[in-house]
């Protein structure tokens, strides 16, 4: 049987289904991007800036980032702030794997970008993107709280445009 290269138009039902799926995805992404509940994973000094991020002056709640208890099972976003050692890497993954899909990761500080001060040390890993998919990196040692706000705005934009790592990997 010959293979035909002719273009065939989709039928009415397929068009309706595609339109509906696109509409539902848009609504879902809008909802998800505006209610990012973070899980705080603070291991060192960047966690101090993360506290300021949630406090009054740099108010995280107005972007929908609500610090609502610290349970991985109710979180969409993990804020990895602080140096991750080789012993801690397994624990970080244990927490990350308990989070429900879709899950997003923000890597805070120079240590999580490239190892930072502890680059080529005997017991730190050089960037957490070696062990888990990271959506947004925040450079700085430590970064200012305003940069957390910027990172959340970038992540919201990525989610609305279907470009976050979770959506690319088909886990949404």
């Amino acid at each position: 049987m010959e293979e035909s290269n002719e273009f065939s138009y989709p039928g009415l039902y397929e068009v309706v289904f595609m339109k509906a799926e696109k509409f539902i995805n848009t609504v879902l992404n809008w909802g998800r991007s505006n209610s990012l509940w973070p899980l705080t994973f603070g291991t060192s000094c960047c966690a101090i800036e993360m506290m300021t991020f949630g406090a009054t002056k740099v108010d995280a709640d107005r972007l929908g980032v609500l610090f609502n208890g610290d349970s991985p099972r109710q979180s969409d976003l993990i804020l990895v702030s602080g140096t991750i050692t080789k012993k801690m890497a397994r624990r970080l993954l244990n927490v990350y794997e308990q989070m429900p899909d879709p899950k997003y990761v923000i890597a805070v500080g120079a240590c999580n970008v490239s190892g930072g001060l502890y680059h080529d040390s005997y017991n730190t890993i050089e960037g957490i993107d070696r062990i888990m998919p990271v959506d947004v990196f925040i450079p700085g040692c430590p970064p200012r709280p305003e940069e957390f706000l910027d990172a959340v705005r970038v992540l919201q934009k990525l989610i609305k445009e279907n470009r976050s790592k979770a959506q690319k990997n088909g886990n949404s």
Binding site: K86, K87, A89, S121, Y122, N123, I131
Partner: protein, 154 residues
Amino acid sequence: MVTVDKLKKAVKGDIEVLTEEQGLSIIRINNKKLLKKLAWQLKGEFDILYSLTVVDYSPSFELNYVFSNYSNADLFIIKVNIDEKDFSVDSLVDIFNSANWEEREAYDLFGIKFNGHPDLRRILLPEDWPGHPLRKDFKVDDEVRNWTGLDLKF
């Protein structure tokens, strides 16, 4: 100062007094077998083993035992030298309870054996770590750099 006199009497003057002033006394002992005896004498006046630090003067190591008490925050420091022939010293866990984790840390980072310790495991680094990283002769080679441990790959 009363304490130093008492210790000298107990070990028959076999200690070297480096500093002796109000609230701070530093002594050095050359025979490490005296350590436990001195600790028993100190138990009456000092409540806790405040910290235990190790200095690497290769090939010998120097252990600094810092004792303190809650009532007037006096410090009492004992310096012990151990040489390369025998990296071991008596444990003080049965006298001062806070020695437990301090000695585990010294074992973890410097590889010093404490005789009579009830639970001498690594405390900071993973269980199957190669080597003792705070020694001067520790090299960050490819074995250490590529060590990932357990089931994790990165």
